[in-house]
């Protein structure tokens, strides 16, 4: 009998209490000594050939017959009201079939009711004003200029610190601060900690607005048939899109199907339904034709989400022996105009290092800029820049090796929730990374800024803490086909992470079949529910469900074989796709022979994700070490090497693991040194409209990366002992680079991106 329990669930740096339905008993965990044949080995991704051949069809690649194309007219002003809108000229333009605006789409609330699908108050330059639908994308875009709009321009504010000021323009009538107040946390007595400290450091850190810029832009295709809607969407959350679109259009859930078989990257920006999807659905219904809206690259820059900028002030106090006695953290993060979830900037400060006295205050602030969105470890990348740069400043102040300082402040348990960690192999990670990076070669940080001479080497480090436990619910189905091949159905996504491959390995492990015999079908709301692919939770949420479904199929297989082989089910052994009677190896039948004999009587299994263990906190851990060379005369930074070692539980596919580390580190490098999404404070408009003005990491910018894994399964996290790896590797990269630059030339530039100009300025140059 299913029962409901209340549990603390972590997702993307936030803990909340939720009701969890427990259906039955979970399987015993695969312990560290579990003999495994496929899980834990490197498997090239199962859909690699399809992608490399150009055969994989992304949302952008679908052109159903009769397709109509949509394009959006966007606000040119950072803050304005629509006084008058007249679409008549656009409606008469060649090829145009429909124009949607607030005049003919009333009553659809958006952004949790704060605005509407087409609001008449526009809160950022780029907000949707109207949508034109035409026979070609070019015709739709051509007609955008023919929509006549009269705006009443209002005062705007684009910087979150400026938006905190009392007299700042109001982004929302209710005020610019999310929830009306800062998020505060305290334990112990911070003032007492500071008053008795042997050493203190204080620093300010600033992180910039960073764009996701997934290579496939945001886009949807909507098609109605018999009152039912099918949505092909470039999304990491098919079930969320289904729920949101069904609610917006007031149609029942079973009338909406969302499909996302291949998805060209999202990194957090595709975690929910967006306006364009609802617009395409509305237009498709009115026109009786399929409708497609794909963002342009410029639209990705202004209206598709960003990691919002932060400003932080952090003070640390320590004893002479280097024990932290107080942490005082203050931060402000932007939200853009509409993000309803704040950035958990203070997460690392609260929990990463052992410290009895901690106070944090985080302001999440609306600005007249494009919407903020989750971006790979939201808040923690930023917060780690503050905390771990302050830690190395403290190490230099005390004359203690930064690694040694971190070991002296190793947190043995969760100090926020006052309970143990399920496992923590960060000591092992520190050692593995330090050995591989040659940390012992690190020289002391120069006491004074180095302003001239030859390029100098430096080492820097940063620690990583993050969730990634995954959680219920997630479900999977396994079916054996008559020829002995297997279909696994699960409503998750492979957003490029290799989830399809890892889930295939899990099913192959249980059924003892080769990888090639198994097809994982995903990305479709016709399949069993799975959560959004975010929060490093896909494998930790879906993997255990797939294992359970495969185990149930395996049990049915053994039962059936037992009757055929005339033996007790407990005497049947399954090995390498063949079942035999224990002690009588000749009495055997192969899986495909058995399923073939059964015609279309189908052996299958259903699995669910069990609840997370109670009373423990599940975290991923890691450390990265950067080695750089800095030219003190030009401020040029050359990264020699990034060494990464993370503890993410059992690694299902070491090859996929290394690729995830590469991806996180490379995005971290981009954020640390190059990328900058610039909004002009005067006009409130975006300056970088694509890759010509936004510096994406390219081949020449990528250093050597050594990706190591501790690889110890978590003893209690779920039936696989896995945790997530998607986000951990981006968290420490930027902080480690800032620290390495400081170690090289003696100035800690904690304003991202760390450009040569900023380094020269910090060194006291022009």
């Amino acid at each position: 009998m299913p029962k409901i329990v209340r549990q603390k669930i972590e997702f993307e740096g936030r803990v909340e209490e939720r009701e969890v339905v427990i259906e039955g008993d979970d399987l015993p965990i695969w312990a560290a000594d579990q003999p495994l044949r496929v899980v834990g080995t490197s498997v090239p991704r199962v859909d690699g050939a399809e992608r490399a051949a150009g055969a994989a069809q992304y949302t952008a690649d679908l052109y159903p017959a009769g397709l109509v194309f949509g394009a959006m007219l966007r606000s040119p002003h950072a803050h304005a009201k629509i006084r008058r809108l007249d679409a008549a000229r656009a409606e008469r333009a060649p090829g145009v079939r429909l124009v949607l605006s607030h005049l003919n789409t009333t009553g659809i609330p958006w952004y949790n009711g704060v605005s509407a699908l087409f609001g008449t108050e526009l809160r950022y330059a780029g907000e949707e004003v109207a949508a034109v639908f035409a026979d070609s994308a070019a015709a739709a875009r051509d007609a955008l200029d023919l929509v006549d709009v009269e705006y009443e321009v209002l005062p705007h504010v684009v910087d979150p610190e400026a938006a905190l000021a009392k007299d700042a323009p109001k982004v929302h009538a209710a005020g610019n601060v999310l929830g009306g107040a800062a998020e505060r946390y305290a334990r112990g007595d911070v003032e007492a900690g500071f008053s008795g400290a042997a050493a203190t450091v204080e620093l300010r850190a600033e992180t910039q607005d960073v764009l996701h810029h997934s290579m496939e832009t945001h886009g949807s295709i909507c098609e109605w048939s018999g009152g039912r809607l099918t949505i092909y969407d470039s999304t990491a959350h098919i079930f969320g899109v289904r729920r949101q679109v069904a609610a917006a259009l007031k149609v029942p859930l079973d009338h909406v199907r969302v499909v996302s078989r291949f998805m060209g990257g999202g990194f957090g920006s595709k975690n929910q339904a967006a306006k364009h999807t609802v617009l395409a659905a509305l237009a498709a219904r009115r026109l009786g034709r399929p409708v497609k809206i794909m963002f342009t690259r410029a639209e990705e820059s202004i209206a598709a989400g960003k990691r919002p900028r932060s400003a932080q002030r952090i003070r640390l106090a320590a004893s002479r022996a280097g024990r932290l006695v107080a942490i005082d953290y203050w931060g402000v993060s932007g939200l853009g105009a509409y993000r309803a979830v704040g950035s958990p900037l203070a997460g690392p400060a609260k929990e990463m290092y052992a410290c009895p006295n901690v106070r944090t205050e985080v302001w999440n602030v609306f600005t007249n800029t494009g919407p903020g969105a989750a971006f790979r470890a939201p808040g923690y990348v930023e917060g780690t820049v503050g905390l771990d740069c302050a830690m190395e400043a403290l190490a230099d102040r005390l004359g203690i090796d930064p690694l040694e300082l971190r070991l002296r402040n190793y947190a043995e348990g969760d100090q926020v929730l006052a309970r143990p960690y399920s496992s923590k192999f960060l000591r092992e990670a520190y050692k593995m990374a330090a050995d591989a990076a040659g940390w012992s070669r690190r020289a002391a940080t120069p006491a004074a800024p180095v302003r001239s001479g030859a390029p100098r080497r430096g080492f820097g480090m940063a620690s990583q803490i993050w969730g990634g436990a995954g959680s219920a619910p997630a479900y999977a189905e396994v079916r054996l086909n008559p020829d002995g091949t297997v279909d696994v159905r699960i409503g998750t996504h492979d957003i490029g992470t290799g989830a399809r491959t890892a889930l295939t390995q899990i099913a192959a492990e249980v059924l003892t079949l080769p990888i090639e015999k198994i097809t994982v079908l995903l990305g479709d709301t016709d399949f069993p529910y799975s959560p959004l692919s975010a929060g490093s939770q896909t494998i930790a949420s879906c993997g255990p469900a797939v294992r359970m479904a495969a185990e149930e199929a395996r049990r049915h297989l053994l039962d059936t074989a037992a009757s055929v082989l005339e033996a007790a089910p407990s005497d049947i052994r399954l090995e390498a796709g063949s079942m035999s009677v224990a002690g009588v190896p000749d009495r055997k039948i192969a899986v495909h022979e058995l399923t073939g004999r059964m015609n279309n009587f189908t052996i299958g299994g259903r699995g669910f994700r069990g609840a997370n263990p109670d009373g423990v906190t599940i975290r991923t851990w890691g450390v990265q070490i950067a080695e750089v060379e800095v030219d003190p005369e030009t401020g040029d930074v050359r990264i020699i090497k990034i060494t990464a070692c993370h503890d993410v539980g059992r690694v299902i596919n070491p090859m996929g693991y290394v690729s995830q580390i590469h991806g996180g580190v490379i995005q971290g490098i981009g954020m640390a040194l190059y990328e900058d999404h610039v909004t002009d404070p005067e006009s409130g408009t975006v300056m970088d409209l694509g890759f010509d003005t936004y510096a994406m990491p390219r081949q020449s910018m990528i250093p050597q990366i050594e990706a190591l894994a501790v690889g110890q399964p978590d003893p209690v996290s779920n039936n696989l002992g896995v945790k997530g790896v998607g986000e951990p590797p981006i968290i420490p990269t930027a902080a480690a680079l800032v620290n390495a630059i400081a170690n090289a030339v003696g100035v800690r530039v904690t304003s991202l991106p760390v450009t040569p100009a900023k380094i020269i300025r910090a060194l006291g140059g022009a």
Binding site: A52, Y63, A138, M215, M655, V658, I666, G690
Partner: protein, 165 residues
């Protein structure tokens, strides 16, 4: 000069695409990229930016890599265009594609056809390129997932003749 007053009126052009003679009617403003994707249904070639800054749309024009979003289809009149679809035959991958898969040189895969065609173009001119030549040849191909080092690994194997090509 026919059709000058009607830029959207289709013009008939002939080109060789993936070894096949094709005749198609395209408006003068139609890019080669859109002609490939929408008229010839060759959607392996991707649009990442549409303005020549990401390389996702790379195809070979008379054997040399070009950005198909920056070319008008009419400019390809009489030329030979090879897209990613030309590399594999009956499901068998070409060496460059196979190397990408084995080295996990792709994640989301959206930039991959462009990366593959850019590298293929280099290898056709220079079968044993240096690592620096590989990086330069692929500098214009943006990958947001972070496969750059894996692509270098794949290229290194191909350049070293680790497998026959």
């Amino acid at each position: 000069m026919p059709n000058d007053s009607m830029p959207d009126a289709p013009r008939a052009i002939a080109m060789t695409v993936n070894g096949r003679a094709e005749t198609l009617g395209v408006p003068a403003r139609r890019s080669l990229l859109h002609a490939l994707r929408e008229d010839l249904h060759l959607t392996g070639t991707k649009e990442g930016c549409g303005v020549g800054t990401c390389g996702a749309c790379t195809v070979l024009l008379d054997g040399r890599p070009v950005l198909s979003c920056l070319m008008l289809a009419v400019q390809a009149e009489g030329r030979a265009v090879d897209t990613v679809e030309s590399l594999s035959h009956d499901g068998a991958l070409a060496p460059v594609q196979d190397a990408f898969v084995r080295h996990d040189a792709l994640q989301c895969g959206f930039c991959t056809p462009g990366q593959i065609m850019a590298l293929e173009g280099l290898l056709r001119r220079t079968p044993r390129p240096s690592e620096e030549m590989v990086r330069r040849a692929l500098e214009g191909n943006v990958c947001r997932c972070g496969t750059q080092l894996r692509i270098q690994d794949a290229a290194r194997e191909l350049a070293g003749g680790g497998r026959s090509r």
